[in-house]
C-alpha cells in the first residue's frame, strides 16, 4: 500500500480565526476515508487547502509522494485529483450533458487537438453513461440551473468522475439526495473504488452513509484532528459522541 495523499501540518487562518490548525494525515491507495466534524470545524477549508483553492498558511500536501502545495486546482485536477462542492457548483446555463463533457474534456488530448478535434472531445458516450447512472436521463438536454437541489448535487458528483480521477474529495455528496438514490451512489462509489482502485475522502454528516461506506473515519473539531479510526471505533469514542454525534 502506498499513500496517495499525504497531508502534513496544514494550517489556515482567516484574520485571527484558525480554521484549520495543524492537521496531518495520510490516505492510502484504494481507501475510502470519511471526514466528519461539527459545523465550522474546518473540513471544507481543509479540502480547499489541499486542492489549492486556498493558499494554506502553513504545511505541505503531497500527492503520490510529490509535493503539490502551491499548485493550482486545475493542475491538481490534471494529476488525477478531483472534487465535489458543498454548495451547488454547476454551470447553470449549460445542459446536463454539456456539464459532463466539460468535466472530462481537459483530460482528452492537447490544447491543439481540442481546438481542431471533434466538438465533444469524444465524450458524448461517456457523458450519457454517467447521466444514465445518476438517473438524469430525461434531463440530459436541460439547463443544469433548472435542476432540483438533489439533482444538481448528483450532477456535481457525476462531474467529479468524468475525468477518471485517482483521488476524489467529496464535500457532503449526500446532502439533499434521496435515500434510494443515495444507496445507488454509495454502491457506485464502492464499485469505482474496487475496480479502479480510486481513492476517496468524503465529508459527510449522514452517519449511516459514512459509517457504511468508509474504511476509516477522521474527526475534526475546532480546526484540529480529534480522532481517527474505524467506523466502529469512532462511534464508540466518547469525545466524538460529545462533540459531534449527540445521543
Amino acid at each position: 500500500m502506498t499513500a496517495v495523499l499525504e497531508v502534513s501540518n496544514i494550517k489556515k487562518s482567516f484574520g485571527g480565526i484558525k480554521a484549520v490548525d495543524d492537521v496531518s494525515f495520510d490516505v492510502q491507495e484504494g481507501e475510502i476515508l470519511g471526514l466528519i466534524g461539527p459545523n465550522g470545524c474546518g473540513k471544507s477549508t481543509l479540502f480547499n487547502c489541499i486542492l489549492g483553492q486556498l493558499a494554506p498558511t502553513g504545511g505541505e500536501v503531497k500527492v503520490d509522494g510529490k509535493v503539490v502545495t502551491g499548485l493550482r486546482p486545475s493542475e491538481l485536477n490534471r494529476l488525477g485529483v478531483s472534487r465535489t462542492f458543498q454548495l451547488l457548483q454547476v454551470f447553470p446555463k449549460l445542459s446536463v450533458r454539456e456539464n459532463l463533457i466539460l468535466a472530462g474534456q481537459e483530460h482528452q488530448g492537447t490544447m491543439m487537438s481540442r481546438l481542431l478535434g471533434p466538438s465533444d472531445a469524444g465524450l458524448t458516450a461517456a457523458a450519457d453513461q454517467m447521466i444514465g447512472f445518476f438517473k438524469l436521463d430525461h434531463l440530459a438536454t436541460e439547463a443544469a440551473g433548472g435542476l432540483s437541489y438533489g439533482q444538481q448535487k448528483l450532477l456535481d458528483a457525476a462531474m467529479a468522475f468524468m475525468g477518471g480521477p485517482r483521488l476524489v474529495l467529496l464535500d457532503e455528496p449526500a446532502g439533499g439526495v434521496n435515500l434510494t438514490m443515495l444507496g445507488d451512489l454509495k454502491e457506485r462509489l464502492a464499485s469505482i473504488n474496487r475496480e479502479r482502485r480510486a481513492t476517496f475522502v468524503v465529508i459527510e454528516h449522514n452517519m449511516e452513509f459514512v459509517m457504511s461506506l468508509c474504511t476509516r473515519v477522521m474527526v475534526m473539531a475546532e480546526g484540529k484532528l480529534l480522532a481517527m479510526g474505524t467506523p466502529a471505533e469512532i462511534r464508540a469514542n466518547p469525545a466524538v459522541v460529545e462533540a459531534y454525534l449527540g445521543h
Binding site: 482567516f14 466528519i36 466534524g37 461539527p38 459545523n39 465550522g40 473540513k43 471544507s44 477549508t45 458543498q86 454548495l87 451547488l88 434531463l139 433548472g146 435542476l147 432540483s148 437541489y149 438533489g150 439533482q151 448528483l154 457532503e172 446532502g175 439533499g176 439526495v177 434521496n178 435515500l179 434510494t180 438514490m181 443515495l182 444507496g183 454509495k186 454502491e187 454528516h205 449522514n206 452517519m207 449511516e208 457504511s212 461506506l213 462533540a243 459531534y244 454525534l245 449527540g246
Partner: protein, 246 residues
C-alpha cells in the same frame, strides 16, 4: 385529526411551459409536524414555492386558516403568519451575521418590542452564530449558513412554518437540535410543514407524512405508517439502507 391550517387544492404549475405540479393536493393539520418526502425532482420545493407565492400557478388554490391566500405577496403571507425557509443558500453575503438575523424581523418592524431578547434566545440555541455575530455572513461554513437561515426564518411568531430540507449540511447534533426546536414549536401550537430527504429521522418526529412524486401526492398518512410502509420504504427510503452495505 384536528382542523387543517393549510389546505392545498389541485395545484397545477411549473417553470415556463414545463408543468411540474400536476394537481397536487394535501392539507396540513393545525399544530402538527408534517413531512413531505419524495424522490429528487418530484416537485417538493416547487410546491413550497407555490404556497409562498413565488411560482405562478395555472390552476388550484391555497387556503390558510380558512382564507384563500393564492397569489398574495410574500409580505402579506408573512404578516398573516406563514414563514418560509428555502432550500440552498439564502443569506445576504455581505451583511454581518447579526444584520442577517435582524432582517428576519423586517415585516414585524417595530411591533416586536422584545426583538433583541428573541435574537438572544435564538443565538443561545445556535451558539456558533453568537460567536460570529459580527462576521460577514459569506465567511460562514456551509452548515453555519444554514443555521443562520433557520434562526432568521423563525424569528417572527409564525403560525405555519414551511421549511425545506433543514438538515442539509447540518451535523447530526445540529440536526437533533433543529428538530427539537421544531418539536418545541409544535408543542406551542405552531404548525410545521417540512421537506426532508433525511426522511427517517424526520418522520420520527412528525405527526404526518406526505409522499410526493411527479408533482402529485401519492400518499398522505400518519408518519409512523408512512415510515413502516414497505413499498414506500423500498421506493423512497432507500430500502433497508444499512443492510446493503457490506
Amino acid at each position: 385529526m384536528s382542523d387543517a391550517i393549510l389546505d392545498v387544492q389541485g395545484l397545477v404549475g411549473g417553470y415556463g411551459k414545463m408543468t411540474i405540479l400536476n394537481g397536487t393536493s394535501f392539507s396540513v393539520p393545525a399544530g402538527s409536524i408534517t413531512t413531505v418526502i419524495g424522490p429528487n425532482g418530484a416537485g417538493k420545493s416547487t410546491v413550497f414555492k407555490a404556497i409562498f407565492g413565488l411560482l405562478k400557478l395555472r390552476e388550484g388554490k391555497i387556503v390558510f386558516k380558512g382564507r384563500e391566500v393564492t397569489g398574495l405577496s410574500q409580505r402579506e403571507l408573512l404578516t398573516s403568519g406563514i414563514c418560509y425557509v428555502p432550500q440552498g443558500r439564502n443569506i445576504f453575503p455581505e451583511l454581518s451575521v447579526r444584520d442577517n438575523i435582524q432582517l428576519g424581523a423586517v415585516v414585524a418592524g417595530r411591533d416586536i418590542i422584545d426583538l433583541p431578547v428573541r435574537i438572544e434566545a435564538a443565538l443561545d440555541k445556535f451558539p456558533v452564530l453568537r460567536k460570529k455575530a459580527t462576521q460577514q455572513a459569506s465567511t460562514l461554513s456551509g452548515g453555519e449558513q444554514k443555521q443562520l437561515e433557520i434562526v432568521r426564518g423563525l424569528l417572527l411568531n409564525p403560525q405555519l412554518v414551511l421549511i425545506d430540507e433543514p438538515s442539509i449540511g447540518l451535523s447530526p447534533l445540529m440536526v437533533q437540535q433543529t428538530f427539537n426546536i421544531l418539536k418545541e414549536l409544535r408543542d406551542r401550537g405552531v404548525s410545521i410543514l417540512m421537506i426532508e430527504q433525511n426522511a427517517r429521522s424526520a418522520l420520527e418526529i412528525s405527526d404526518y407524512g406526505i409522499v410526493l412524486e411527479l408533482g402529485q401526492t401519492r400518499l398522505v398518512d400518519r408518519a409512523e405508517r408512512v415510515l413502516n410502509d414497505p413499498r414506500i420504504g423500498q421506493l423512497f427510503l432507500g430500502g433497508a439502507m444499512t443492510e446493503t452495505a457490506a
